[in-house]
């Protein structure tokens, strides 16, 4: 902080002009040692992945190998990723609630419904399709590109679209909203996210209770064919991820919109040099 208050800008840009091309050159030179693009014999393609490709369908019943790796072979990793997403939602809630923003008040978004016929009609058509497609993406994750993460984000984006046009959801504290609300309240989104992460861990613990390892679904008493049992358990995992992701997207949107209203600072009023 010893630099002159406003004189550092030119020095900074000059340093950047020298340092970042050097970084780029270094990265490209380092990458020159990598195997050729598309080389089937590269180390990344010859060690674990043949096992995934050749055995996944027989072992897990999922034609989509990405889903098999995500929810079964690397289920422990995915549990961690889901927990990170959930923690991000909780973190946002805590940061903005600590600011004196009260999450139990009606969420902001727009304070009045938009009222435009075209927007209202467009969302009436678009949002149900988006929500339905999200569920389709979830349950077809075994056999086509898709799964809980993609479906959850789609579902969350449908909810956000609705809130942007129709106004905020109510906060779940019994207060009537000024405008018709759609979708889960902030508290509801939080409960969805919790249910997802607990369901994920619960499936893992159930596998332990029936004599397997944590998240090793083969022992679950869902049938006699182990591949089919794993397929069902994978669907359960994907549904849990779906709930967590959709709920967290809802929590993030609601807390940020509440925070922006509570802060009371008009947005877009700031003009400064080189912004």
């Amino acid at each position: 902080m010893g630099a002159p208050r406003h004189g550092g800008t030119r020095v900074r840009w000059l340093l950047g002009a020298a340092a970042f091309p050097a970084l780029f050159l270094g990265l490209v030179l380092g990458m020159a040692e990598l195997p050729e693009f598309g080389d089937p014999g590269s180390p990344a393609s010859t060690h674990v992945s043949p096992r995934f490709i050749e055995d996944a369908a027989a072992e897990t019943g999922a034609a989509n190998m990405v889903t098999a790796v995500l929810a079964d072979y690397r289920g422990y990793d995915t549990l961690g990723e889901t927990a990170v997403i959930f923690a991000a939602g909780l973190g946002c809630l805590v940061i903005l609630a600590a600011a004196g923003g009260r999450p139990n008040r009606p969420a902001a978004g727009m304070s009045h419904p938009f009222g435009s016929v075209i927007l209202d009609a467009a969302t009436r058509i678009l949002v149900p399709v988006v929500l339905l497609f999200a569920v389709y993406v979830l349950i077809h994750g075994h056999i086509s590109p898709g799964g809980g993460f993609q479906g959850g984000v789609l579902f969350g984006s449908g909810l956000i679209m609705m809130r942007l046009v129709w106004g905020p959801a109510h906060a779940g504290d019994g207060q009537q909203p000024e405008v018709p609300a759609f979708g889960p309240s902030l508290r509801g989104s939080l409960i969805l996210a919790c249910a997802g992460i607990l369901g994920y861990a619960g499936i893992g613990l159930a596998a332990m209770a029936f004599g397997g390892e944590f998240l090793n679904y083969g022992t679950l008493p869902l049938g006699s064919d182990p591949a089919h049992v794993r397929e069902l358990a994978t669907l359960g995992i994907e549904a849990a991820v779906f709930l967590t992701v959709a709920g967290t997207v809802g929590v993030l949107f609601d807390t940020i919109s509440i925070g922006m209203r509570e802060s009371g600072v008009p947005l877009g009023s700031e003009r400064g040099p080189r912004e």
Partner: protein, 114 residues
């Protein structure tokens, strides 16, 4: 090689944006560009000549040479959603900063913290 160079260019662009742009929101968007660079790099590592997407179609036992490597795709799938959530968390922090200091400009923030 071109793909790797493209990823390197995106990464450099993102990191330069994080270091040089004065506005915190722009720094955040530059960080997203950097994350996209990593995703491009990983997914390009999964590519195999003559292979198709890692979804089993009709036919006999799958051969490793017929399908792309599913592992980088899996890792990046979760990375994308994690980056959405962390961006949301960062936006929450920015709203807090904006309401407390009424600016997101790095230099003005430093002036106010002095």
């Amino acid at each position: 090689m071109t793909t790797y160079a493209f990823a390197a260019a995106l990464f450099t662009l993102g990191i330069a944006g994080m270091a040089l742009l004065p506005n915190l929101l722009r720094k955040l968007l530059a960080m997203n560009v950097m994350q996209v660079a990593v995703i491009v790099f990983f997914v390009s590592l999964a590519f195999k000549d003559g292979a198709t997407v890692p979804i089993l179609g009709q036919g006999g036992a799958p051969q490793a040479a017929e399908f792309m490597n599913p592992l980088p795709h899996t890792l990046m799938l979760t990375a994308i959603v994690v980056s959405v959530s962390t961006t949301g968390l960062a936006l929450g922090l920015l709203v807090r900063i904006r309401s407390r200091f009424e600016t997101l400009n790095e230099r003005r923030l430093l002036d106010k913290l002095r």
